[in-house]
Symmetry: C2
Subunit: 225 residues, 2 copies
């Protein structure tokens, strides 16, 4: 079989190749996995040897058709776990990531299917990320629009937030911002600050543009169109 470490490498490759749409470089992977480059080189050789990735020396790697379903299975585990932890075991959505990142490698597919059934086969995880089905279909990524692309006065529905920064997640949920929340953009500044008003509140929530760009949102009504 495949070690937990190998699975994490494959998962990292999946996310990175999705982001950049290019071959994933050794250095990028090294940073992501928090190891030195030679460790990556030796690992990608093993993964290529076993046909999960295509490796071209000095040119980076891509997942093969063998590798992709492996990754999707892990992502299914991860997102179902996150959902189950928040929904059934009273975890805060800020704490689920680490627990899920470990357990994803150790639960059986049977376990995953059972918690999926308990949850009614949910389509998305607590951060709005799509959960692959048991036969590993994944919904296509949402429209690329982010909170940073909006105009003042726009109303948008939050679709997806990054799941790996607990502090941000705590901040967001404390201010009533989760997937499905509708917010109005009340201010954007030249120095990179976006201010929101969650629907039905008078609260003002400020976010650095950098962060706003990482939050996917669906435009509902625009003052500008």
């Amino acid at each position: 079989m495949l070690s937990a470490i190998m699975e994490d490498y494959l998962k990292a490759i999946y996310y990175l190749q999705d982001e950049t749409d290019e071959r994933v470089r050794t250095s990028t992977l090294a940073e992501h996995m928090d190891v030195e480059q030679p460790s990556v080189t030796s690992m990608v050789k093993k993964l290529a040897e076993r046909d999960f990735i295509h490796y071209k020396p000095y040119k980076g790697v891509v997942l093969t058709d063998t590798g992709i379903p492996v990754v999707l299975e892990i992502i299914r585990h991860h997102r179902l776990l996150e959902r189950y932890l928040t929904e059934r075991l009273e975890y805060d959505w800020a704490e689920v990531h680490d627990e899920a990142d470990r357990l994803e490698h150790h639960i059986s597919n049977q376990f995953a299917d059972r918690i999926a059934a308990q949850l009614g086969n949910p389509a998305v995880d607590p951060h709005g990320d799509p959960i692959p089905t048991a036969d590993l279909d994944v919904s296509p990524p949402q429209s690329g629009e982010t909170l940073a692309d909006q105009q003042v006065g726009d109303k948008v529905r939050i679709e997806r937030v990054p799941d790996n920064d607990p502090d941000l997640l705590r901040y967001l949920s404390e201010h009533g911002i989760t997937p499905k929340t509708v917010v109005e953009i009340v201010e954007t500044t030249s120095f990179g600050m976006v201010t929101l008003d969650p629907d039905g509140t008078d609260e003002r929530v400020a976010l650095p543009e950098e962060v706003a760009r990482s939050i996917i949102a669906q435009t509902l009504t625009g003052a500008s169109n």
Copy 2:
């Protein structure tokens, strides 16, 4: 921290020293862990180095006061998982052991505490084994009486069955024998066969004496006393 493998060694030592009430020998451990003896020797040195066990060369090992709570924590995880899997995720009690044996090393104490809370802090696992509390108290072992110690005509309540033989567990549950079941001993033979009648049924369930001896039961009424 401690690797999953090390935890399994400690757990094995715990069970073996409980069974024999003596120092656990290298060979016993090797058989239990399904590795060769030199592997055990090198592992017990590491565990002794870290003070989880006391190791006397050529004389076997014993858990230290540092090692015992480590084991109890793992056993708590294992038994809570088994209970949760059967009760909330529709696992058959014959299938839970393997899943629990893997996951016990990977769930956090928080996870264990949450499933314990969901279950109402149960005292025993599906096989009747006591679940250590969050502060690691364990109920003392049940009376040593087994199904093999009974007389024909005795009524006994099943307390505990071995959890590592799926076939046996399936057989038992198919014939309505689980912890809490009351059965009457209807026959014992000189060639080692015990026959039971589960309470309220007319069914006859036969078991080899070897197996009967591994099932703990509480005598309720005896024809003989």
